[in-house]
Assembly symmetry: C2
Homo-oligomer: 113 residues x 2
């Protein structure tokens, strides 16, 4: 199956948007990214997550959570915290995190022909 | 200057996250994208906007607004509505829009050496 955006979800839910610009240091980054994806996916309140990166440019990762408890568990996860620490040391030139409550959501999927 | 994520902003503010997968139809898409970027930038309540796209994969665009009035003006802009209509006809396989109120934001910028 081809890639799809996370579909519209039933509000209210939470959304964490992480935007970043990387350094040139690739050491350990793909492995840690794969592990973080696995780890956040094990959070029972995770509704979905997705990322995009323009080559040589901005990366945007979005994770959707059912409630504050699930998001807090992810923020406080020790392995995640350790990865973010490593990120500040080695992998990121800069990043921003925006945490929000989603009030509206809608989606479009092209009809099959 | 090199690319930077939109920095952390003072909550509360609004955030519209648009995630999409494109068709192969490029006709008019870059020009319309540039025009939409110009148009949203002219919105006095726009705090910033940014996009990332994995080649052949997901695109994520985020726009940050000071208040609901600014976001509504953007949603109801006739040229924007016309572009979205064209998007559903030609440019998008699928997309999702999430509209949210941001409650927390923080950022990191690597220190100069």
């Amino acid at each position: 199956m081809s890639i799809q955006p996370v579909p519209a979800l039933e509000p209210p839910y939470l959304m964490a948007v992480f935007t970043d610009v990387r350094t040139a240091d690739e050491t350990g980054y793909p492995e840690t990214g794969a592990r973080m994806s696995e780890l956040v996916g094990a959070n029972p309140g995770l509704l979905g997550h997705e990322s995009a990166r323009t080559p040589g440019g901005l990366g945007i990762t979005v994770a959707y959570f059912r409630d504050q408890e699930s998001l807090t568990a992810w923020r406080e996860d020790l392995e995640h915290r350790s990865a973010m620490e490593r990120g500040r040391e080695d992998w990121y030139e800069s990043y921003t995190l925006h945490v929000a409550t989603v009030e509206r959501s809608h989606g479009f999927v092209r009809a099959e022909h």
